[in-house]
Amino acid sequence: MKAIICKGLTKQFGDFKAVDSISFDVEQGEIFGFLGANGAGKTTAMRILCGLSYPTAGEATVAGFDVYRQQEKIKKNIGYMSQKFSLYDNLTLLENIEFYGGVYGVSRADIRTRSRELVSTLGLEKEAGKLVAGLPLGWKQKLAFSVAIFHRPRIVFLDEPTGGVDPVTRRQFWDMIYEAAAAGITVFVTTHYMDEAEYCNRISVMVDGRVEALDTPARLKQQFSTDSMDEVFYQLARGAKRSAD
């Protein structure tokens, strides 16, 4: 079964089509890169797929559930990590895990064993009882990702998860993404880093609300007869009429 199916999905604010009739499928277990310049409509599209926003037209299902009527069911089956850090700064690491685990209905016993595992894989045993506010950004982001997949969702949405993070931590972060994908979680990720785009199984590039290209990184490079993703992105995005915000 496909993880995400979009057909002609559109979101309009007044005259402005933020998302203009996009169609694509995402396979279960795939790492799907969702690229586009600032203001191209990535975040809007993602918010629709996460059940945070109603589309104006078109169809889409996420984990088999309809984005118009079954948003709460979608929410049960996805994880979401926004570009803003979204854990509670003034809760400790463990309290954050416990809180979000509880919200997703993970049982207490599971929360306890899984959070112990998680803390040790992240190597944060010493920090487990400290407030999240004191952690360095890279660790915060890794923690946020771990929390987003803590309830073992079918799909995880990552909105620019590595913004402002150093290259080493980014590599570690992508290792975590691969692990999650290997465990069968579909990863839907937006990014501005083209090296990260290369890590994806397939990528789509949005320009002015439309999906202008969708394929594996290798074939996209071939198609635009270049050897760098930067160039692919540049060729697509420079045709954009919308000014970046």
């Binding site: 945070l52 926003s53 509670y88 700064d89 309290e95 416990e98 979000y100 509880g102 997703y104």
Partner: protein, 367 residues
């Protein structure tokens, strides 16, 4: 959902603010916010210079409410002192004051009042009249306001003024429960609104919205901790009231708590409702302030509801604070029981249901 509880205790500063600030306010505010008038500046014009007139002046000075600020030579100079704000009252004792009192058994004195500071002037005037009356009930006091419009009828004073004499205790009893209510109102209205809007600002609310949490779960999760804090504050308030002012509710404590509980739910609902409209904490503050101002002024806390125009009285009925202040005063001071306050309980419950209903209705996880 018990996890939401922690959200409140994580914020140690806010928690401290919520618990300590009200206590301080309850201790300090009543001294400033009472209607009692002290330090009324009295200028006197003594045309008599008799031992009896001096005795009267001495008595006025000794009452503790007045400050003798000077003895201008003429009544005109006394009025000038009022104009310059040096005096609030001018008392004129005519020549032959002692003689006439002894011989004819009655004597007029003139009292002019500065009506700019209305409360001070009218209460100060009334005090002075009662001092005079107490001094010699045969005195006829001629009270004049400077603009000449509101010349009070020359009061043939009897001893009726005596109740004014120790108004202090009265005001304290009246004000302290009112202030307690206002504190509870602030906690309920402000803190919930700010808390949720803060989550909007930080972005955690979006993270919450993307979870399968139900609206009512989220709202209850917010309500319950603040409700508990509110009740704790209320308890602290009552304790302070008892320890510092020696006021112990005459009525049933359980009834008082029942009302506080319902009232808090209503106010929390208001806070939630505000938070669904406001996008930033600044907006939330302004909206909350607007409501608080209306509530405070309309609730009969500062002014008597009975003396409001009809429309204001009607509006006053729509503010939950009005009902709660009334109830608290009735229970604490008068000892009213549940049966007497059934309608008020109904009103408060109505507010609670309506405000929370609106808040839940208005809170959207999906836009």
């Amino acid at each position: 959902m018990q996890k939401e509880f922690r959200q409140i205790f994580r914020d140690k500063t806010i928690l401290a603010m919520m618990l300590v600030a009200p206590t301080m306010q309850l201790i300090i505010l009543p001294f400033a916010a009472n209607f009692e008038v002290k330090n009324v500046n009295v200028a006197y014009v003594d045309h008599d210079h008799s031992s009896y007139s001096r005795k009267l002046l001495h008595k006025i000075g000794a009452s503790g409410y007045f400050r003798m600020v000077g003895d201008p030579r003429s009544y005109k100079e006394g009025l000038e002192m009022i104009e310059y704000g040096k005096a609030d009252l001018v008392l004129e004792i005519p020549a032959g004051f002692e003689k006439n009192l002894v011989r004819e058994g009655s004597q007029k004195v003139n009292l002019s009042v500065d009506a700019i500071n209305g409360t001070k002037a009218s209460l100060g005037g009334a005090y002075l009249v009662s001092v005079l009356a107490n001094f010699n009930s045969n005195l006829d006091v001629n009270v004049k306001l400077p603009d000449g419009k509101a010349v009070a009828p020359a009061a043939k004073i009897t001893v009726a003024g005596i109740n004014w004499y120790n108004p202090r205790a009265e005001y304290k009893y009246y004000m302290v429960p009112g202030i307690l209510v206002l504190l509870l109102t602030m906690i309920g209205g402000f803190i919930t609104a700010l808390n949720i809007v803060r989550e909007k600002e930080i972005g955690t609310i979006e993270q919450i919205n993307v979870t399968p949490i139900q609206k009512w779960q989220f709202i209850l999760g917010k309500l319950i901790p603040f409700w508990i804090v509110g009740m704790i504050v209320f308890t602290i308030g009552l304790t302070v009231m008892y320890l510092v002012y020696g006021i112990f509710p005459k009525g049933n404590l359980a009834v008082l708590y029942l009302f506080a509980a319902v009232y808090l739910v209503a106010l929390l609902g208001l806070g939630l409702l505000i938070s669904t409209f406001a996008e930033t904490q600044l907006q939330a503050m302004f909206i909350a302030f607007f409501f608080m101002m209306v509530f405070m002024l309309m609730s009969g806390f500062f002014t008597s509801i009975d003396s409001m125009p009809d429309w204001a009285r009607a509006m006053s009925g729509f503010t939950p604070v009005t009902h709660f202040i009334k109830v608290v005063r009735l229970i604490v001071l008068k000892g009213s029981g549940l049966a007497d306050l059934k309608t008020e309980l109904g009103y408060l419950a109505l507010f609670a249901v309506a405000l929370n209903g609106l808040a839940i209705f208005n809170y959207r996880k999906t836009t």
